[in-house]
């Protein structure tokens, strides 16, 4: 097991390296730069700025400087948010995105698996159809519609919850963004669970368990669930990575100070270092979550373990 983990972590390094290199050069293809945005600048001022940020150096040299700094943890200053380094910005914003993403993931996972299981157990009943319709609605309505609608109902009309912001960090600020973020994923988990649970319930060992007279709850939770969860766990890795690194849309709608928007804002503002920083972060998250998911796989399905 340990050897497996170490081997995977070792292979993560060249992956990261390739991702960073491709992103670095791809970013530079966009015309314009970080400094002539709101108003065009006089040439002398531009020269000053380019020199200060070493953007007047040949591209290959900028690349080498960037890589050698990055391995030491220095991801450079943000060109747009000049009072902060990229590491500082991401460091400040990441906890918010992660907390929001964690709760959204919890809601999506627990809610989705529960609803999917119920639908599978009551297959083809009215309950099944209504749950699956809800799932369809959840995936089709975009979160930039769900978010403002929830805000309109709960914050403006009923004045029960805040319309946005992080406030003092109490749960009431998290509730609406969490729901808006989780809903599409909840729908996906529900569908996945229903499908694989139906299949699992028809397996031989389930028939045997039932024949033994085991109570239905044990049959479903202890025996059928393990097999049914495999597709859910596969989807878990990209889902978790996406939720934890923040959704640009939800964070914009609810003005959460997370990092989700940095990726988009950074690209629009040509903030090269900020985009690179978020790219590295997302790549790390995806690699780590894929590793975790593979380990969970091994726990759930003994057949995988002995490969």
């Amino acid at each position: 097991m340990l050897a497996f983990v170490l081997r995977r972590l070792a292979s993560a390094v060249p992956t990261l390296f390739i991702v960073v290199t491709i992103s670095f050069f791809l970013m530079r293809f966009a015309p314009g730069g970080p400094f002539n945005l709101e108003r065009p600048l006089p040439p002398a001022t531009m020269e000053n700025i380019m020199r200060t940020y070493q953007l007047d150096q040949p591209l290959w040299r900028q690349y080498v400087t960037y890589i050698s700094n990055a391995v030491q943890g220095d991801f450079g200053p943000s060109y747009i948010y000049k009072d902060n380094t990229v590491a500082e910005l991401i460091g400040k914003g990441l906890p918010y995105s992660m907390e929001l993403g964690f709760f959204a993931l919890l809601l999506a996972l627990v809610g989705g698996v529960t609803l999917g299981t119920i639908a599978a157990l009551r297959q083809n009943s009215a309950l099944d159809f209504s749950i699956m319709s809800l799932a369809t609605v959840g995936t089709t309505i975009p979160n930039f519609v769900v978010g403002p609608v929830l805000t309109l109902i709960f914050a403006i009309v009923l004045s029960l919850l805040p319309a946005g912001g992080w406030g003092d960090g109490s749960f009431r600020y998290l509730l609406l963004p969490m729901i808006a973020l989780a809903l599409p994923q909840l729908a996906v988990f529900a569908r996945l669970t229903r499908g694989s649970m139906i299949e699992a319930l028809h397996a031989d060992h389930i028939r045997t368990a039932r024949a033994y007279g085991l109570p239905p709850r044990i049959v479903v939770i202890t025996h059928a669930m393990r097999g049914a969860l495999l597709p859910v766990v596969s989807y878990l890795a990209p889902c978790a990575a996406a939720l934890m690194t923040g959704s640009a849309v939800v964070e914009t709608i609810f003005t959460i100070p997370g990092i989700g928007r940095y990726f988009v804002l950074g690209a629009l503002n040509r903030d090269y270092t900020l985009v690179m920083g978020t790219v590295v972060l997302i790549a790390i998250f995806v690699i780590v979550f894929n590793l975790v998911v593979d380990l969970i796989y091994g726990l759930l399905d003994p057949r995988v373990r002995h490969d």
Binding site: A30, P31, G32, G33, P34, F35, N36, L37, E38, R39, P40, L41, P42, P43, A44, T45, N48, I49, R51, T52, I80, Y81, K82, D83, N84, L89, K92, G93, Y96, V110, T114, P148, T151, L152, A155, I156, S159, L160, L161, P162, A163, G164, G165, W166, S170, F171, R172, L175, T252, I253, F254, T255, I256, P257, G258, R261, L268, N269, R270
Partner: protein
């Protein structure tokens, strides 16, 4: 999941929702929407107006704007101008202090101005202080920083020597780049001087906390010379760049002020909030530039015809819901020293008459129906309103001249980069917001020597000569006359077609008093107060 767990989580959820209780503050807090996250809190690096709002509450320049948008003494209590008009001597207030109790001195201002012009600082608005002797040379690396025309005569007397008489210089001193920094703080803390807990400020407020993209909190600065008259204890700036989110938070009564929202919301918001919706014309012009180096836009008749055929009332009413006003001059109204701008000759005609005249001119030039076909490309920066304007104008030109019009849009960075680098175009959308309240700021865009902002490459020696004379003219009336003559040339030649005068859209809650709309869009929190 077991039903008991379900019940427990439902209870926990409900409990946390009900747990919410707003603690009652005895202090007066203004919740101020600020339309975006500041890119920096360093006055030498600042470039956008949302930073200006924050910085002007934290720091105080030699001059400031009052609530009505007029220049009044700030950190300087009085000043004198020498007979030759190039030397200002400012007397700083005796009781002016930084938030840490140390006195505000002339040395602070000397240090701050030199820092702005130092090429190593790479200040984006260094050109604001170019009227100061040697400033431009220093900023271009051609002179030593020590030669800047500023001197601390003593702790409370500050002298500025200009290159030439500059009538609008006092307006420049109220710009956010001219705000002072504490020399001691910058020398001790380096780049960290902007951080909360470290920053010392000489304005009505001091920085308490800053969570990027969430909030920026400032508290009353008890060491400010006018602290007794500042009624607010705290101001919280909300850096929300999503306009819809800002409006929602205003409607949920979480914010008292919102700066800029989508114009299509005006009708609805006016219906619900009546006079809390402010549409305030400002010193900003929306215009279409013609590339005078490309045929047929090198022909003054073609430019005039195209400009005349645009129905500006339609644009203002239908696209901007009245949040922008038709403009027939590059310089917007509302500049005290300039008065009414010199409008185009067709300003008073009806739109039908304009279109007739336009057709005549176009025929004369040999284009349009019966002449050479017109193929026009409109460039604009990606934005839903700019797209609507371009579509409407394309339609107007199609209907009037049977022109074939295409549209190209790029994001704002690329759009301006293209124009600034001298790219060829037919018609390009541009906007200009005044850096200071003087007509020169708009007219200078068309100087043939202005390689950066003269996108259309307009080259008129008569215009250049008038502008040159205006810089040397000391008498304000004579100067205003020269500028009007220069503007008249622009209105005659239409190197750019001014379309609209922009307005700032504000939502100002009924809780707030002391608010005055003004064209300079200056709203210092120290002149505001809130009621419970």
């Amino acid at each position: 999941m077991s039903s008991r767990l379900l019940k427990l989580s439902a209870a926990a959820l409900l409990g946390s929702v009900l747990f919410a209780s707003a603690p009652a503050f005895a202090e007066a807090v203004l919740h101020r929407g600020n339309a975006g996250e500041p890119q920096t809190l360093d006055q030498a690096q600042t470039s956008i107006n949302i930073e200006a709002f924050i910085l002007k509450d934290l720091y105080e320049g030699l001059t400031i704007y009052d609530a009505a948008g007029k220049i009044i003494p700030g950190a300087a209590e009085s000043w004198t101008l020498s007979d030759d008009g190039v030397t200002y001597t400012f007397k700083l207030r005796e009781n002016a202090k930084w938030s840490d109790g140390t006195p505000v001195t002339a040395q602070d201002f000397e240090f701050s101005f030199k820092r702005v012009e130092d090429p190593k600082t790479a200040a984006k608005y260094a050109n604001i202080l170019y009227p100061i002797k040697n400033a431009e040379a220093i900023n271009n690396g051609k002179a030593e920083v020590a030669t800047l025309g500023v001197k601390a005569v003593d702790d409370k007397t500050f002298q500025i020597t200009l290159e030439r008489p500059t009538p609008f210089f006092l307006e420049l001193l109220a710009h956010q780049t001219a705000l002072p920094v504490s020399k001691a703080s910058v020398e001790k803390n380096g780049a960290d001087f902007v951080k909360p807990g470290v920053m010392v400020s000489n304005g009505a407020f001091k920085l308490v906390s800053h969570v990027p993209n969430d909030s920026l909190v400032v508290e009353k600065n008890e060491n400010h010379w006018d602290a007794a008259n500042t009624k607010l204890d705290k101001v919280i700036f909300y850096p929300i760049d999503d306009q819809a989110a800002s409006v929602r938070r205003f409607e949920a009564k979480e914010m008292d002020l919102v700066f800029n929202f989508s114009a299509d919301q005006i009708e609805r918001l006016r219906g619900a909030y009546k006079d809390q919706v402010h549409v305030s014309p400002t010193l900003a012009t929306y215009y279409y530039a013609f590339d005078s180096s490309q045929a047929p836009y090198d022909d003054v008749r073609v430019r005039n015809a195209l400009s005349m055929a645009v129905d500006r009332d339609f644009l203002a009413k239908e696209i901007y819901s009245g949040s922008q006003i038709p403009a027939y001059s590059l310089v917007p109204p509302g500049i005290a020293s300039y008065g009414e701008p010199s409008k185009a000759s067709f300003a008073e005609m009806s739109q039908l008459d304009r279109e007739d005249k336009a057709l005549e001119l176009m025929k004369e030039a040999g284009y349009g129906e019966g002449g050479k076909p017109l193929e026009i490309e409109i460039r604009y920066n990606t934005n839903p309103n700019h797209e609507r304007v371009a579509t409407a104008v394309a339609d107007m030109w199609k209907n009037t001249f049977n022109a074939k019009v295409t549209m190209t849009n790029l994001d704002v960075s690329s759009h301006y980069a293209y124009l600034q680098e001298g790219g060829k175009f037919n018609v390009a959308r541009a906007g200009w917001v005044a850096d200071y309240a003087d007509a020169e700021n708009f007219l200078a865009l068309n100087l043939s020597t202005n390689k950066t902002f003269n996108y259309g490459k307009y080259n008129n020696p008569e215009f250049d000569a008038l502008m040159q004379k205006s810089y040397a003219e000391e008498n304000p009336e004579a100067r205003s006359k020269l500028l009007h003559e220069a503007e008249a040339l622009l209105s005659r030649d239409q190197p750019v077609a001014p379309l609209l005068t922009q307005a700032d859209l504000w939502l100002v809650s009924n809780r707030v008093s002391g608010w005055e709309d003004n064209a300079a869009n200056e709203h210092l929190s120290r002149f505001l107060s809130v009621s419970e």
